[in-house]
Structure formats: structure tokens, C-alpha cells
Symmetry: D2
Subunit: 384 residues, 4 copies
């Protein structure tokens, strides 16, 4: 009897953080993969992740549209509530033996709550990290609802245990997103034309002599400032005059603040050196990332994948505060001058050495192996 | 400007665990109480709590019907999801400065998630305890979403801190339910006829020479066994032939298993010494409790209120495993002989001395005071 | 390419009204049946319909728990809203070519709305009838959302056309519930012991010398009176002292009013001649019905199936006002004397001749045939 | 005792269609207005209607965020389901005596269902019209759930009666949106600078020598073609080289198809004579409309308000098929040449005479008067 492993993917970044585990689960004759695609992962305007998943050859067991629109914060609990209602039906129909939830986006709590309330063991990828903001609350709440913990780093595993989880349920697997980076490193050349394949908006740039990448997400607890913050980054990048590939933020309560900032800047300033993209297939993105001189913004990619790839990172603001980091990161405030100077320092420095804090490239198969061999149970208690 | 304190009451037992805090908040000129009544607290068949709340003179800011029916486990996440959706609207309309969530029933997570996602500080009453079952997961997940912690015991407070919460946000207030018990102790005489006031089903019993109380809730992760378990207790109580006041279980996935067990037993065995009640006004219940010779079952009342009141408790099964207890508790398995013998031992022992592990009777005013003076914020990080 | 026909069954009576159509669809090589079971059809306490459906050999494509509990009227729109949300996901995953919705229960509107909003053609069984109460509004609203109309009677079909529907989309198929009755007439003998097979509560009755059946549903727009009304019927049936098989009402806002009335009457009056059942397998029920001397209450069964079976009916109150009826029906008010006298008159009269107003026994295959051959489209306009 | 009239506004155009009724209700000492703002009326990206409502001095009794995001059709039933759930709570808390629902947008069905299921009388503004598409189904379904009908035209009232509604419940009030137009006609001069007040995107145009208006909504049942259709209109308007004020479509399943078409056209063709607006305060919009030479697209404004204002209309495609129209309308297909020629004909023709088919300017006060004096009830039956 195969174990049925249900994985709920709710967003573009989550897919990257589970893809190699999905592949390993699918290939294992003792496991049956039930892939549920939900929330912004289904929506074209957040990156058309659905197409990528289908192109990667995964069968989709259920699709759950659940994003409630709103520029105010009520949209987040409503989205989560809708997900909770529908995932209960999905789990009731699929009857999985274990459910996997990924990281710390607000809507992932729906997966953990639905499964745990239905007495289905929950495995959590990427618990135990520290970042601040609402993600912090979500991540640790998910830990408390989970029965198996697949931590990315030693320190994260230690924190999970200190929170009172049974050490026998906590494993340092590394992060599956690093597996993708490791895979890309086997053939890292940028073998396609970025603009041809991905379009985007803004002028076509000559990136043959180097370029930077920008990814800046709104910080939900600082909703009002989102527009100001992105404008600082826009100015610093524009002023540097180096080709910049800018990726739109994913969905969050402040999303429209950030988007608005970008739209207004484009309209008024018509920056010649910035080209905007919605998203890329993960492998393409990693090649583009590896080929870049620096990544700027507040994405965790700069901390995680880039430490492994050795790509210099300028990390802005407090979104990533508390996350372990390799030597490749310079932290700065939301200040256009500070940002510009930090980018310049990184351009001068060049590539860093590989750092394996977040994984060695084998996380996916390690996770599949644990899902196959670990005893599954749903009863737990604080260890103290 | 008054601080607006929104309290969401979702069930009969939760009301007892917050009532004196509600009174203290209402009386405080610097605080404005926004009372939301939701879930089974609104439903007649779970005890007509709404009437009690109105009789206690509280204004109700919003009523939220959210209980999804179902004999299977999908009903719990759906109920929670529905609550999440609606509480988001309620909070958006009431705009509270702080939201209070109580204890560890599954649907209380909706309160904590909705408020925390909307950047409203969350205060949690009764975190840090250890019980097992789904309550365990819910309770600690709520802790991780909360910004202020009002623990009932020293040990609970220590556990919250060990889970990584800022010690400055953790307070030992005692449990407000003990306040009610302390109040009742001032005039503990049973000054009404139980059957006249509460009806119930079964024969009228002569309880003037002593009686016991039974409260046995289904254990959600052992759904199938609920009926068997309640039947063991029914046999032991019937065999003892002492007058027994039996309280119906509150809503849970296994509710119908337990209810069915009771109904079948009544139909087949027609027990003469057992009378069944739906519920009572908390103060009446505490008087009935104080006047009893023993409480039997798996309700936390036997552990908490009874340690303060000195009422002997026979605690059955593992629902209360891990909870601190006073000297008044004997633990037994779901075995009719063991239960009967334990009850007999408690009848022989009689009253115990007062124990203040769960509170000294001033929790409500302590909580109101903290809500008034504590700085409210929503940013937090693991302390390690 | 088979046409995918999705049928949503939400309650016990709906299943009887579609079962032979389900069989005909399943048997047709050009049609693929997608059966969705939802709402009270999934709940044991409304009759364990799920088991019956599985015993009948149907595969279930999705199960949707959606009944929101509540003794007040808010439960109905909430149940419908929940169904709407979840059926959207179900239809998005199943991608049916046509969706069938049945009759006029409040939650069936969820099926019609979800399908029509998703541009899926809707076929409605049992439109065009007139009854009053909320069912009346629901039924005609469903007609306005539907693209194909399978009416039970000529008069119903005429009404649908008068409401502005294209005559080419309206068909008199008869009601599939009559097919079941026709089937049962081929071997109508009651070949099982009712009490052995169905248990129920109350004393075992000797029904060999005749018996009556009672089915009384609460009328939602007269919520407060539900208890009074059922008590009148209870008195009249008790006073007659003839064996009575009484079926519990299905879910509705007033359900607990009616249930309460029955429970209190049983407790106080201990009627010796009434036995209470939750429900029966439809074929068994039809045999029990055919073998009875009279049916009493306000169920449409008395009007529809009984006109075909020739069983005398005492129809109480205004729940069935406006429905076409055969000669077998006597209408009375909610008055114990009037009810008793009408039952007596029917007992004196005995069986009536068969009447085919509601169908000739071939509705199911007629419906499957139309679903196979009719052009499906979603555009329509009032014909005037 | 004042009658409590609850009005649910879910979108920008609905507000215009009820505003004068809101004013008349508010001013009437015997009526109490309970205004609920919901769905896209709350969202900035659909036009910031909330601000307008507040500026007009209305108190808001409840805000309900309910728009579920999705480029596919599942978003519509989900949005409606969410609304149904939440409006049930809103009505349960507000306890209105009558609920008003407006026109035929898909989410208005939530208002009608929630109120009718809760036994609250429903009054419907703008029933009985004929348009095709999903609006057609919604509109007549709402009629079947409603107890009072406030029709805009004589013909609409006749259709409602023919659908089986009691003639005593049907009133020709005219459409309140015409009241706004009548008000504007008292001082029709365009006394502000359009670009200064409303910004928008595209070049500043000199509109002093005449201009046209474009409003083209996606047609939900022709999702795939939305982009093609809007592109035809864009070409014809660009080719005419007359200043054009183009208003973005409101939310619908095909919204992104239309929006995408507009965005791509702007990027590629950089049309010099088209300026894009999100929305305007209704009174400003009516002045801009009255000052225009022609309105182009498929908005009902071209049929309704413009017949009263005498503004020439080029109505494209079948979105308005079946609606009564005055002499001011020329109908054309989605063909750039046909559209261009029709616009030219209208420019040559100039203003038309006032037509009062859709109202005489007193609808609002007529509606308030009916709400005050009509007997309210919830029982109805087909009249045939």
C-alpha cells in the first residue's frame, strides 16, 4: 500500500522550495503524490505557475481558487478561511496519509490547520527560521500544528526543538530550492535570450556586460510605506545606470502600494536601464540569477539561493532580519544613497565562495526518503 | 481615547473562562468592550449561552453563526474557515485595538489568525498548558500568533517563555474561571432546586444526601472509541447507584458518538440514578459542583475549578494528561471497574483543601489592568 | 467524446427524485455520470443517504460537507454560500458539460448559480410547480438560471413557458420518483420486517392489520409555529390508536422546533401507537407507503408518489398549496380534530385508482435521452 | 417605529442606480437607512467608490470584502458564495425590515438570496429588462426571489408581471440613475478640468472642440474574444483621431482579457488621441457625458442615461440586445470599420431630443415613498 503524500502549493516561490521533493516523491514506487495547486499559484497575474507545473509533468489532483481581493488586510484572513474550507473538502476526497506544507506564507496556515484538524499528519518544510513580520507568526504556528519538521539549516532545527518539538520529529534536510541551484550549476550558462523568452515591459537592455536583479516585496506590517520604500530602490537602481532586471512582487496586502510605486515611477521617470518581468520558470530564473552581478531587494532568494550560488546580495530593510546568512549579503536601510553604495560595493567585490548553510543539493530525495520511512502519527505534546 | 478590546466567545466553557475579565473591562473607564459571540455559543443545542450572556448584561457587538455540521472531521476546519472569513469582516468593522482569544478549542484559532493577519495585537488567555489531542496543537499555535500571554499558572508561563516568547509579554494572571469559583465560595449554598430550574431528562433524584457530577467529552483523535468510552463510564455510574447529574458533551467531531452511546444506554438500561442536563448558568453550575461529592469524567473543570474548590475528581482517560493538578485528582482508564473504585475512594475521602495553582480569584481584574497599561505591538521574533 | 453530466444530490428526497435518471445516465455509453453528494445527503442524522447511494453502486465524484448549523434563519444562506464556494471548485475540477439540479430545496440554488456563472448549461428537474413558502422562490429562481427544463407535469411545463422560457427548452418528462413507484408496483409486497430492518424509537407495533404513515416538515416561514403544528398532528394520530410509522423531518431552519415538539410529546405522552423512523431506503419506503392505509402530514410524497400509487393522503396546512393533486388528497388545517376526522375518512375510503399526473414511470430514461441529444447552450432571453 | 431599509451596494454603477433613492430614504423620518458597501465598491482598483459614498455623507453600516480573484469563471460563484455567507451575518446583526438589491450584476444575487432565505422582504430595482448574457439569468432569478419590484420602464414592469409576479407588487418608478441625469441638466456645464481632477493615463487632450467617450465591458460568456473585441474598438477610435476619454471596464471574469487588449494596444500603438480613466464621481461623469459628442462601447449608460440626455450612442455587440432604446442609439458589430462609420454618423447628427423611457427624474423619491407605505410580506406564488 503506497503512502499518499499530498503537497499543497500556493505560490510561485513555494513551488521552487518543494519541486525536487515532488520529483523524488513521484519517482518513489512506495509513495503516491497528490499535488494540489491553490491560491496565487493558479493566477496568471502572479506568474502563471500552473503552466510551469504542468510543463514539469506533474498531475494536478485539485485546483483551489481562493485569493480574496482587497487592498486592505482583511483579504489575508479571508483568503486563508476560504482555503481552509476548500482544502477540508479536498483532503476529505483525496484521503492523504500525510500533508506537506511549505514555509511561511500566510495562506499556508490553511493547509496545516485543515490537515491537523482532520487528524492527518502534517510535514513542514522550512520551519524554525527567524524573519519578523507576519511570516514569523505563521511559520511558528505551522510548526506547532506539524508532526514532522524538515528544516533547512542546523540552527533552524535547533530552534524547532527548543520550541518544544520532539527531537525525533525534526530533520535537517536542507532546502529543496538549493537542489535546483545545484542542478543549474551543472550547466549554468544563460543559453537563451531573456527578452525574447519573457517579454516584460520596458526597453530591451544589453546585458552582455553585466546586470543586476531586483526583487522587492511589500512588508505587510508596514503597508503604508510600501510605496515610499520601493521608490527609494527605484531611484538608486536608475541612478546606477547598470542594466537591471526587476521582478514584480507577489501577492500580499501591500502589493498594490508597491505596484503603484513602480507604475508611477515608470510613468514619470521613464527609467531606461530597468526592465520589468512578471516571473520566470525557476531554472531559467536561477541561470539569470547566477549570471547576475548582484541581487537587490528583500527577497529571501538573496539570502538562500545566492549564498549557495555565491551571488552578491544587497538586502534592503528588515524583511530578512534574523535569517542566517552567508558572507554574500550586505544589509541596508530603505535609503536610496545607501542602496546605491551597497550595490556598488558588491559590483566591485564580484562572486563569493559557495556556502551550504541552506543545503547541499540533496534535500528533495532526503525528504522523500523520510516520508517513506518515518512512522506517521498525530499525537504530540510539548517536551517540557 | 479608550482602548477597544474585542473578545470573541465561541463556546460555553470559554465564557466561564473570560467572564470576570469581561466585567473588569466593561467597568474600566479607559477600556471599551466589544463582545463577539460566535459558533456554538449561539446555538441552543449547545447550551443557550447567548441568553446567559445577555442576562449578565453584556452588549453584543456581533453574532457570527459558523458551526458547519458534520459527523466527520472535515467539519472542524470548515467551521474554522467560516469563522476566519466572518471575523475578518467583524474586525474590519469594529476596528479593535486588541483582540482576546480564549484557551484552545479548535475554532479559537480563527480569532487568532484573523486578528494577527490584520495587524491587530492578540492577547491569549490560558496558553502554555499541556493536554495532548488537537487542543495541544491549537493552543501552542495560538501562542505563536499572540502578542500578550495571560497564563493561568507559573508553569504555563514558563513553557510559553521556553517556546521563544518574549518574557516581557508573558503574565501569570491566574484563570478567570477561578474568579467565579472564588465568588461562589462567598455564598456557596445551593439555594435552588436543580430539577425545577434546569429540567433535563431522566427521573427526578433526591440529591439531599449527596450526589456526583459527570462530564465526559469525546476525544477528537479517538473518534471511533467515543461510544465505547462513554458506555464504560455510564455502567460504573449506574452500578454505584448514587444520584448522578450528567452534563452533555459540547460540540466536537465525535460528539455524536458520545451522544449516541448515552442515548442507547438510556433506552436499553433506563438508569434510575442518572439525570441528564444540557448546561447551567456558570454560577449555578459552580454551586452544584461545590455541593457535589465528586466529579467524574474528563472535563478540565475537574482539574482546574475543583482544585480551588476542593472537590474530589475522578479523571478518566488521557484528555487531561499533562495538565498540572492539585491533590484532588485520581486518574483512571476507560474501564468501568476502575472508574467505580476511584469514585468510591473519593466518596470515602471527602473534600480537599483549597489549591491556588490555577488562580487566586483576581484574574479578571489583573487582565483588564494589563490590557489598559501594556504597550500593544504586533512585531515579535523568537527569543533564540 | 462522452457528454459529462454532473448531478448534485443534496438531500434524501432529492435522491429519490433523480435516481432512475442517474441509472439511465450511467447506462448510456454516450454519457458519463459525475455524481456529487453534498449537504444533508452526507449526514447520518439526516438519514445516511450516502450509504444508500453507495449500495446502489454509484461512484461518487466528490463529497461536499456544507450544512451550517443554526436554529436561526441565517443558517440557510450560509449553507448555500458554502455550497456555492465549494461547488465552484468541484465544477472547475470535473469540467462537466451539463449540470443537473433537482427541485427546490434552498441549497439547490447553489448548484444552479455555480454552474450558470461558470457558463455550464444547467438542467432543472421539477420546475414550474407551485407550493408557496421559500421553496416557491427557490424553484422559480432556479428556472431562471436553467437552460433545460424537465417538468413533471403538463401544467408545470406550461408555467415554465409562461415565465418566459423558450418552449424548445421545456420538456414534460414526468418525475423520476414515479419511476421508482412504478418499479415497486411490479412486486409491491412488504417482504421484510420494518422494525428489524430499521429500528427506530418507540414500541414495536403490530402493523399486519393496517397502519398509517406520518411525515411532517417544518414550514420555514412559520418557524415559531412549527412546534405547535406538529403537536396537533401528534395528538390526532395518538388519539386514533392505529399503528403509525412516523418519519423525522429533514433539515430546515425550523427543524429543531418540530423535533422538539416530537421529543416533548414522546416524553410526556408516551404514545403507544407511534413508532419513529429516521429514514428508509427509497424502495423499502415505497413498499411501506404502498402497504399503508393513509399518509398524513405535509410531505410532497402524499401528493406525488401517492397519486400514482393510489394511497389516500391527508395533507395538512399550506406547505403543498398550489401543487396539482389527484383525487387521493384531502386537505386540512393544523387542527387535531380536523386531522383525525380526515384520516378516518381516508381509512374508510381505501385505495384510489392510479393517476399519472406526475409521471408514467419512464422519466429517468427520457431525461437521459434528452441530455444526450439536446443541443446544449447557455445563452437565453425572455421570450417576451 | 421606523422601517429599516437595508441597501447593499456592490459596484460603482449600482451606486449611481440607487443614489437618489438612498438620499430620499435618508431624508424620510419614517425610514432608517442601513447602507452596506460590498464587493468591488470597496476596492480602489475598481474605482474608489467607497470614498465617493462617504463624501456624499452616507453612514456605512457594514463593509463586506468579498471579491475572489481569478481569471477563470470560478471566481464569480465564489465571490457570490462569500457574499452570501457574510451578508447573512450582516442581516442577522442589522435586522432590516426590507432589503434592496440593485439590477443584475452576478454578486447581487447574494443579497437577494440571503435576505429571502432569512424571511426579509426583498425589493428589486431594475428588474424586467432584457439583455442576454449571465446578467439576464441573474436579473430574472432576482425577480423570482423579490417581493417588491421597482421597474425602470413600462415594458419592464409588464415583463415582470408576465413572469408571474403579482401586479400589486410591481411599480414603474423609473431608474434613479436618470434622477442624477435630471439633476445635472439643471447645471450641465463642465466646470472643471478633466485631466486635473482625474489624472488617468495617456496624453493630455484638448477636448474643447468636442470629444467622445468609450466604455466597453467584457461579455462574460464570450471570455476568449474579449481581447479581440476591445482591439477593434481601439483601432476605430484611434483612426478617427478625435479626442477620446476611455473608461476602464469594471470587474468581470473576462476583465483581464479586455484590460490586456488595452494594455498591449497602448504599448504597441501609442494612440495619441485616447486618454484612459479609471472612473469618476457620478455627477462629474454625467457632465462629461452630456458634454460629449457620442458615447461608444457596450455600456448600458449609452442606452439609459444617454436617451434622457440626448447624447448619441454607438452600441457595439450584443451586450445590450433586448434593452429598450430611444432614437439616440446606433447598433454595430465588433468591427472596426463599422464602428468608425457609426461614430462618424453620430458626430454628424449631433444631440437628440430627451426621451423618458427610463425615467423622468423622480425615481428616488418614488421608491422611498413605496418603501414607506407598501405592506411588506414574504409569501408569494406564481399568479398562474
Amino acid at each position: 500500500m503506497k503512502r499518499k503524500v499530498c503537497v499543497v502549493v500556493t505560490a510561485r516561490p513555494s513551488y521552487s522550495r518543494v519541486k525536487t521533493a515532488l520529483q523524488a516523491i513521484r519517482q518513489d514506487p512506495d509513495l503516491e503524490l497528490q499535488l494540489v495547486v491553490a491560491a496565487s499559484a493558479l493566477l496568471e497575474r502572479y506568474g502563471g505557475m500552473l503552466r510551469t507545473i504542468e510543463q514539469d509533468g506533474f498531475d494536478i489532483a485539485a485546483r483551489v481558487y481562493m485569493v480574496v481581493e482587497g487592498e486592505n488586510l482583511a483579504a489575508m484572513p479571508k483568503t486563508t478561511g476560504l482555503g481552509l474550507i476548500e482544502l477540508a473538502t479536498v483532503f476529505d476526497n483525496l484521503k492523504p496519509d500525510v500533508v506537506i506544507t511549505i514555509a511561511d506564507r500566510f495562506e499556508t496556515l490553511a493547509t496545516a490547520v485543515a490537515a491537523s484538524y482532520m487528524n492527518i499528519p502534517v510535514a513542514h518544510i522550512q520551519g524554525g527560521e527567524v524573519t519578523g513580520s507576519i511570516d514569523e507568526k505563521v511559520r511558528h504556528a505551522v510548526t506547532k500544528l506539524s508532526d514532522l519538521h524538515f528544516a533547512s539549516t542546523q540552527m533552524a532545527a535547533q530552534r524547532i526543538i527548543r520550541m518544544g518539538e520532539d527531537p525525533a520529529s525534526v530533520f535537517v534536510t536542507g532546502c529543496p530550492s538549493i537542489d535546483l541551484a545545484a542542478e543549474v550549476l551543472k550547466a549554468p550558462a544563460l543559453d537563451f535570450d531573456i527578452f525574447e523568452r519573457y517579454g516584460g515591459v520596458g526597453e530591451r537592455l544589453d546585458y552582455s556586460n553585466g546586470y543586476i536583479i531586483v526583487m522587492q516585496h511589500p512588508v505587510t506590517t508596514a503597508y503604508e510605506q510600501a510605496r515610499h520604500q520601493v521608490t527609494e530602490t527605484l531611484h538608486s537602481v536608475r541612478d546606477l545606470e547598470i542594466p537591471a532586471l526587476w521582478f514584480w512582487p507577489n501577492v500580499d496586502a501591500g502589493s498594490d502600494g508597491t505596484s503603484k510605486g513602480i507604475r508611477v515611477f515608470r510613468e514619470l521617470e521613464k527609467p531606461k536601464n530597468i526592465h520589468f518581468f512578471r516571473n520566470m520558470v525557476p531554472e531559467d530564473f536561477l541561470r539569470v540569477l547566477y549570471g547576475s552581478q548582484c541581487i537587490v531587494g528583500n527577497s529571501s532568494v538573496g539570502i538562500r539561493e545566492c549564498s549557495f550560488l555565491g551571488v552578491p546580495t544587497v538586502n534592503i530593510g528588515d524583511r530578512q532580519v534574523g535569517r542566517e546568512r552567508g558572507p554574500n549579503v550586505i544589509d541596508v536601510d530603505h535609503d536610496r544613497t545607501a542602496i546605491r553604495q551597497a550595490i556598488q560595493r558588491q559590483l566591485d567585490h564580484g562572486k563569493y565562495a559557495q556556502d551550504t548553510t541552506y543545503g547541499d543539493g540533496c534535500a528533495g530525495s532526503r525528504i522523500a526518503d523520510l516520508l517513506k520511512h518515518q512512522e506517521l502519527h498525530i499525537e504530540k505534546r510539548l517536551t517540557y
